[in-house]
Amino acid sequence: MNVVNVLLILPAAGFLAVLLLPRSRPDAAKIAALAVSLAVFLLSLSIAAPVHGDGAELKFVTDVQWIASPDIRYHVGVDGLSVWLVILTALLTPICVLISWRYIERRVKEFYAFLLLLEVGLIGVFVAWDLFLFYVFWELSLVPMYFLIGIWGHERRIYAAVKFFLFTMAGSVLMLAAIIYLYLRAGTFDYVVLQEQMASGQLMLTTGEQLLLFLAFFLAFAIKVPLFPLHTWLPDAHVEAPSAGSVMLASVMLKMGTYGLLRFCLPMFPNAARQCAPWIIVLAIIGIIYGALVSLVQPNMKKLVAYSSVSHLGFVVLGIFTFNEIALDGAVYQMLNHGISTGALFMLVGFLYERRHSLEIADYGGVATPAPNLAAAFLITTLASIGLPLLNNFVGEFLVLQGAALVNFRWAVFAAIGVILSACYMLWMYQRAFFGETPEEVRSHVYDLRAREWAAILPLIALMLWMGIGTGAFLPPIQALNRTVLEQTKSNAEFLVKETPPRPPLRTENGAGAGRGLLNAR
């Protein structure tokens, strides 16, 4: 049987199984969730190698009819873009189970059940190749996250949960309208068929249609990313969510947005995308700088990390909309990096919260003394997050900046400000929390990493290093895919070139080559 199906069925079965466990045995729920999610992770590794060869090709395909009329198909598969995101999701779920082990005390079995349901939704989003199926998983992932925030969150959890739900819902209903419209035009929800129809000119959208459809999709994704003026749900949701919720939200859910942009917005509506790109890039750059500046003044650790997410995802959006291969590679790489380093940050902040029950930076200080290992792990993660060379974020940010600079140098300059600021706020926070005088509360409450916590954080730290050094293990399928995406945006663009893309994307062969050479050298 196709592994991808198993990746969906296994957590779904786990969800039901955990729900049916007796309430009196919370440990059974934990163990079951851990076992299921670990099994999913191990299985997910098996999809990496085949896709590695050619990321542009769709592999592990299952295509069966779900509903006859209208023709909705259960069409799943993975390619170079989805493969890492699926593995990332599968990796983070057991880690989330681990970090919640002690923290979640109330209604334990529901928590793990929702976590597994969330995994189904997230993996489903990344492997769905039928637009309708994609929408189903997209909405499905909303429900468990809503409950995770609402039941197990902090004080203002209800507000945050409802806001999160309504923002996403408002964006996605328009996407549904666009999906139905596409179906009525093309007679299919199948993304592959749609692509073929568009490439062959069988389905030609007028400029106006393309623009409206693009905006409908874009809005849904931009809210999820979140792009600058639509980001306000994010800090609330992050701050109020339990650690596991924050981790899943930051590491995977936000990627749903950028994944959607890259998967659907660019190849399906290339002209509209090119038309809107300058505006979007401006918003992305505002997001980068704004997020960084707000982070700088945050007294609350989780909020700081949340706003830094706004900033980091600005890079991803910037990379996607430069229409430059290097920047695109960087954007995808940055999606993964952000998933790992910000996930780790939320996790570590969660560890601190478990000990000291505060998220205020001012309540900490000198944590390094009672908990040196925790401090070390936090330091590595911080450095990764600010993009220190040899750690993962550096690669992504560098590629994005390089690609952006090739297209428009000013974009790169402004975006680079964000990199500098990120170093400021992250290091400043680190300094305030971990160095200096150790207050009595910290001394008495904060203890060092336990074995379970080590188990949760070590894989991520290892990945930060591996992704920072061994890019060759991760980049090839992404590059292959991005080349295809760029081809698609061009092949579709042909008959509308007269629509004046505001700044024809500049693509110098040797520039691209130099970038790749640099990376391969390390």
């Binding site: 409950f147 039941i151 408002a170 209903v173 328009l174």
Partner: protein, 488 residues
């Protein structure tokens, strides 16, 4: 002459469900005074048995498709669909009622007879092919429902509800009847297919004005019955005041039947003038969605909230009607089926939770139900998520098909506004979820008793229906598709 007076037996088979239901209803009625009070719960069982036999009768009638009794009724897929739907709603409502009735008014069993008679009326409406039959069906159904709405006659809210429903309902029915009179005067027939023929033949066509007035008057009657704006004002008061299981029943059954006749009249008889009624329905759909959703945002009483939500959902179905296509009709049919399950389910929870005298009917009373009765709360969540329109529930596919039909009919603005409305609607449904799961258990949840067996069956059945329609919508949709095509 004498021998031919006997209707052919196929004709009788074509109205088998009505016959069965009438006999069952009469049986309940006659047995009621004969039984000792403590044995009156038997009547609920008889009612369910009667409804189940009627469901079988619907299937039998479906084998003998075609017109009966001089074209007065017609058995087609459309009729079968709605007959089955209203009967299923009847079953669920009776299941919810058994315990409720024992709690609130244990000494009487006419309740079940009234439910059965109401279902008879709705079933007639589903199969009626002629305006007089439509009217008769509507009256049978409505009069029984008026009485049901005020069934607990010592309860002030019940009284208010019944009298409001009765007065406004009669008024609206009068409009309908007046419209029927106009079209009979103009077209010279009350048969829907005949009217369609007359209207679409240029030589025979009566003055446009007369037909327009008639269609408008009938629209008033129908819009009232489906609680579409601007004739929706009765719904919140009536739904709030009526006994909870009755509200469950009348927000699903009579509404579905009313949509059935609405669709049949407008898609058959008035189809030739569709370009003239379409804007009216369009506007009404828009207003209904807005009124329902925005008023629901402010409600604290859960019955009232669900009443406004019911208005909003009528608005979505109106979107499908205004698409005036076979796909739109099929979408409306599917939606009504999905809506019946999720709404009856939601009201079943309210019935269960309200306790003696419907004490706990505020949203805040539900606080902590998720802790105290996780299964009930989980089922309620399924209904609420379906009402929001989250995938894998019937409500989602219902909305999807409706808006697909609307886009196909090029109703772009209506689609966008409708979808945004459904995002607004998420807020008030979420509020119930919030209270239920995120608040600490309050007094009401602390004292909640186990779910009564009847309500439990109704809950599980509704949830199963909701999920079935959400995961395998084809089971119903294919039938709806075929039936919608058969209508003319």
């Amino acid at each position: 002459m004498p021998a031919s007076l006997f209707p052919p037996y196929e004709d009788l088979l074509r109205i088998l469900p009505e016959i069965v239901l009438t006999i069952a209803g009469t049986l309940v009625m006659v047995l009621e005074p004969a039984l000792r009070p403590e044995r009156k719960r038997l009547l609920g069982g008889i009612a369910i048995a009667g409804l189940l036999v009627a469901l079988w009768g619907t299937a039998v009638a479906n084998l003998f498709r075609g017109p009966a009794f001089h074209q007065m009724v017609v058995v087609d897929g459309f009729a079968t669909f709605f007959r089955a739907l209203v009967i299923v709603v009847g079953i669920l409502a009776v299941l919810c009622s058994i315990h409720y009735l024992q709690r609130e008014r244990p000494d009487s069993g006419e309740y079940y007879a009234l439910v059965l008679f109401s279902v008879v009326g709705q079933s007639v409406m589903a199969a009626a092919n002629e305006l007089i039959m439509i009217f008769i069906g509507l009256e049978i159904s409505s009069i029984a429902t008026y009485v049901l709405a005020g069934y607990l006659r010592d309860d002030r809210r019940n009284n208010e509800s019944a009298i409001k429903y009765f007065l406004l309902g009669s008024f609206a029915t009068a409009f309908l009847l007046y419209g029927i009179a106009w079209i009979y005067g103009a077209a010279g027939t009350t048969n829907l297919v005949e009217i369609r023929r007359v209207l679409s033949t240029p030589e025979l066509a009566p003055p446009r004005f007369l037909v327009g007035v008639s269609a408008a008057l009938m629209f008033v009657g129908f819009a009232f019955k489906v609680s579409a704006a601007p004739f929706q004002v009765w719904a919140p008061d009536v739904y709030q005041g009526a006994p909870a299981p009755v509200t469950a029943f009348m927000s699903a059954g009579p509404k579905a039947a009313a949509f059935a006749i609405f669709l049949r009249v407008y898609m058959t008889a008035f189809e030739p003038i569709s370009n003239r009624w379409e804007p009216v329905v369009w506007l009404s759909a828009l207003a209904t969605m807005f009124v329902g959703n925005f008023a629901a945002l402010l409600q604290n009483n859960i019955k009232r909230l669900l009443a406004y939500s019911s208005i909003a959902h009528a608005g979505y179905v109106m979107v499908a009607v205004s698409a005036h296509s076979e796909i739109g009709t099929a979408a409306a049919m599917f939606y009504l089926a999905a809506y019946a399950f999720m709404n009856v389910g939601a009201f079943a929870v309210v019935t269960h939770f309200a306790r003696q005298g419907e004490k706990y009917v505020d949203v805040d009373d539900l606080a902590g139900l998720g802790h105290r009765q996780p299964v009930t709360a989980a089922l309620f969540s399924i209904f609420l998520l379906s009402l929001i329109g989250i995938p894998l529930t019937g409500g989602f596919f219902g909305k999807f098909y409706i808006f697909k039909a609307a886009l196909e009919a090029k109703l772009y603005w209506l689609t966008v506004i409708g979808l945004l409305n459904s995002a607004v609607a998420a807020y008030y449904y979420l509020r119930i979820l919030v209270v239920m799961y995120f608040h600490e258990p309050g007094e009401a949840a602390q004292t909640v008793s186990p779910v009564a067996p009847g309500v439990k069956i109704a809950l599980w059945a509704s949830a199963a229906g909701t999920l079935l329609l959400g995961i395998f919508p084809s089971v119903i949709l294919d039938f709806a598709d075929r039936s919608a095509a058969l209508m003319k």
